[in-house]
Symmetry: C2
Amino acid sequence: MASIAPTPPLADTALPAPAFSPLYQQIKGLILQGLQQGEWKPGEVIPSEFDLAARYKVSQGTVRKAVDELASEHLLVRRQGRGTFVATHAEQQVEYRFLRLQPDYGTQSNEGPAQRDVLECRRQSASVKVASALGLRAGDAVLRARRVLRFVDVPTILEDLWLPAGPFKELTAERLSGHHGSMYALFEAEFGVRMVRAEEKLRAVLPDKAQAALLGVTPATPLLSVERIAYTYNDVPMEFRRGLYRTDTHHYHNQLS
Amino acid sequence: MASIAPTPPLADTALPAPAFSPLYQQIKGLILQGLQQGEWKPGEVIPSEFDLAARYKVSQGTVRKAVDELASEHLLVRRQGRGTFVATHAEQQVEYRFLRLQPDYGTQSNEGPAQRDVLECRRQSASVKVASALGLRAGDAVLRARRVLRFVDVPTILEDLWLPAGPFKELTAERLSGHHGSMYALFEAEFGVRMVRAEEKLRAVLPDKAQAALLGVTPATPLLSVERIAYTYNDVPMEFRRGLYRTDTHHYHNQLS
DNA sequence: CAGTGGTCTAGACCACACT
DNA sequence: GTGTGGTCTAGACCACTGC
């Protein structure tokens, strides 16, 4: 890393700032690059801190700070005595990484695994809204799927989702319903797309007749609408999802700090 | 800190774990204690890392790690070149620290300051639900307030809140409506109660007639119900709040990572 | 300029997991 | 035992703020 100067002096200019970037940030970027390019795959160990330090020609403490940040963003998982691993949606203790819906009175976190009924999965052209969410142009090909999640046999969530047709070309209803584990685990294992963060917009809405029927409620039942954009590495949007949540038996739980 | 042994060896026993606590965690606890006991008040500087290191007889790096964690929990705020400050709800760039509601199409984050109309503030005895949220017994005295928030003159949020009567004995509708800044800034400045985190449960509901009238909607308009418990230092609950949010012009925004 | 937090290093030792 | 991440230290130097 000796080749990267901390802050090359600039010529006289009115530009805002020289943009000093600490070494550990650069190392973080290099590790991120390795993750994106698949050098280390989800679930695998990455080299030890000393190995990485030797590779990048910095001290172990500098690597540590880079890895610390990546771990705090849930891109890596540290396990004392074993090593540092690439985070994965598979083999994860929490069944649904991004699902914030909880039963109102539940001993467990989510009454065990949900039943997932895939209703549909087909190719479409993107509406303006979907295109803008996914960073595509209106009319671009997308895959659209619809499914219902049932907890202890009660239909609780109706989800519609849109995926860019490029990376997910091979996705079918069979593959969606045939897999074990969460949908994101499937995306990761079968399509090499790992979702790392998401943004949600919540609203209270009334369902149309079809939606109400699928959830077993009347059209007068208020539902929680959850629009989610999920991002892979480098803030690239890879999924737009709209969920309708029943909140008569469950609630959306959020931690503010 | 030399007096605190890292892990005193235990006699043969079936107890779960010796509970090793790193030095920086102990330092963190000591700083936290200073915050709770008001040794350093919101907005004030705390001693420099070297001063704290000398005081606690540890190295500066150990203090740094403790302060880092407190800063990541928003209990402290670091400012390079100036010092480390106790976080405060006053003089904060974000008007509402815990409010996640955003305008659907807003250039600004929240259309400038809201109008706050306090409708009520009186003493009550706690219901079972309120008592359990606040860690009190049913029947204990609480203060109940109700207010409406308007954005660009449109009533958007109806809030009911309950506070333990002890710390907030002197609270009146006048003081609630007469202050500048957020309610939590008032609590902090006038009652010495600083909220540090909160938990929310969200549901979609229909308002009753009174609620609908106050928000200027029909009783058939679905609203977002947001139940919040806010905690001060040491996870002590100090406020229970129930908000009804209009989501026809706004949405609740959440980051998942 | 002095004082603060921020970065980087190097080395020692501890806790934990696997073999 | 060996190797991993986790803690702790001590010291040097950098970046930013305010006097």
